[in-house]
Symmetry: C2
Subunit: 254 residues, 2 copies
């Protein structure tokens, strides 16, 4: 009788294969199964769910610390998951994890996040998928709390699975956690500010910056949970239909 296989866990991110975050997540995944990393070969933050259709993709093998093997993809996080699924893995993964992102993907950040999109792409392809992010942007951030959350959530999902069409989005503060809480996506936005400058050739250009603004009025949202020291876990879906409104509108003749 063949030895039962350990679960295969596909690890991706949007900060690229050389980030500390992906190594920290691979370490946790390694406690649960066989790890394969397929991730962008460079920083891809804020690419959202971009995919590459106008140019070809390349993948090259790499090792991290002589420990984790993987393939670096010349594309986006969503590209990486599609290519892993279709070409690069020898067997189907049991779980797709993305992160640990250096920077929060709570609230409105989720819309712009390549980290979350990698996990969403895993869900679209039919795999249980989880995104992990730490609020601290620093490369040397203390990811131990986020790793603790990853250990609990990965264990839960490997045991219980996830409903079709649902991805888990996990965010944690840096350092130790008070605990882990379910939460909804915070109502929030950026107040953008564009700093206008003049280049040496006398042409104008703009740098985008922005202040984050929490618009929520209760504390059951992901951002409030993180601020209180908890990791937040938000089930998210890629069916964007606003069903309650659709129900109100459907008798209106256009």
């Amino acid at each position: 009788m063949p030895k039962p296989e350990k679960p295969l866990i596909l690890v991706c991110n949007d900060d690229g294969i050389f980030s500390n975050g992906i190594k920290a997540l691979a370490e946790v995944a390694d406690e649960f199964g066989d790890v394969e990393i397929v991730a962008p070969d460079r920083q891809q933050s804020a690419v959202g769910h971009a995919i590459t259709v106008a140019t070809p993709l390349r993948a090259r093998a790499f090792m991290i610390d002589n420990r984790f093997s993987g393939q670096a993809v010349s594309g986006t996080p969503a590209d990486s998951i599609k290519l892993a699924h279709n070409q690069l893995l020898n067997r189907k993964p049991d779980l797709v994890v993305s992160g640990i992102n250096h920077g929060s993907n709570a609230g409105i950040n989720i819309i712009y996040s390549g980290t979350v999109s990698a996990a969403t792409e895993g869900t679209i392809l039919g795999y249980p998928s989880i995104a992990f992010s730490c609020t601290d942007f620093e490369e040397k951030a203390d990811l131990t709390g986020c790793q603790e959350a990853a250990r609990k959530v990965i264990g839960y999902v490997l045991n219980h699975g996830l409903p079709k069409g649902v991805t888990l989005n996990v965010n944690a503060p840096s350092g130790p956690l008070k605990g882990i809480k379910w939460a909804r996506q915070a109502n929030s936005r950026y107040i953008e500010e564009f700093e206008g400058r003049i280049d040496p050739h006398n042409r104008s250009y703009y740098w985008m910056t922005g202040k984050f603004q929490l618009l929520d009025d209760d504390d059951q949202n992901d951002i409030s949970m993180i601020e209180k020291g908890y990791a937040s876990v938000t089930p998210i879906q890629y069916d964007l239909t606003a069903y309650s409104l659709l129900n109100d509108l459907k008798d209106i003749q256009l």
Copy 2:
């Protein structure tokens, strides 16, 4: 007493300022108010909700057919809307429209769509916003049906507004319409195929292709409506929380 201003309609897309689709949409918008085009300076299909944070943005003025003035932005559709809102417009728009995209943004396509993301960004910034797409990829596609849908939906939204946090996603077949129907986002996916090739330097690369697969079992979805000759109108939201599942999960201790 000052003359009441006509509504200002901000027009964006993801195919770039030189596409036929944006001109077709600007023509319809022009029937309702003052038109300002702020859109990517080049093709940006499948960029999803990407934004540009690592490089600066530029904008340059242009005219289409000596008729519509605008600004071409060196970034993504979402960048274009943010920059228009913050820097480029003299007054706040009353409506944001995006398209007409050359190619469907129904079903799962919505996730990858720059066209839809421009409209979503408009919604995030607080403006009533609508995305328009035609199923025909050809630059010379017959957009008259989609223009007819745009006329009806723009008229409706200028009169009635839209609830906070909701964007309308409109898709139409090419040519004349049977009518316009409310619909939900179809459950659908791509069966990706990557075509592996070897370059002249003997290195492998992959071209992404894919077959679209409709997984829905009733006909109240956007793709079924379009196939029957109707334009579909789907209210969508950027709060991705899977609320019904969150309710089930919230008593589970992680």
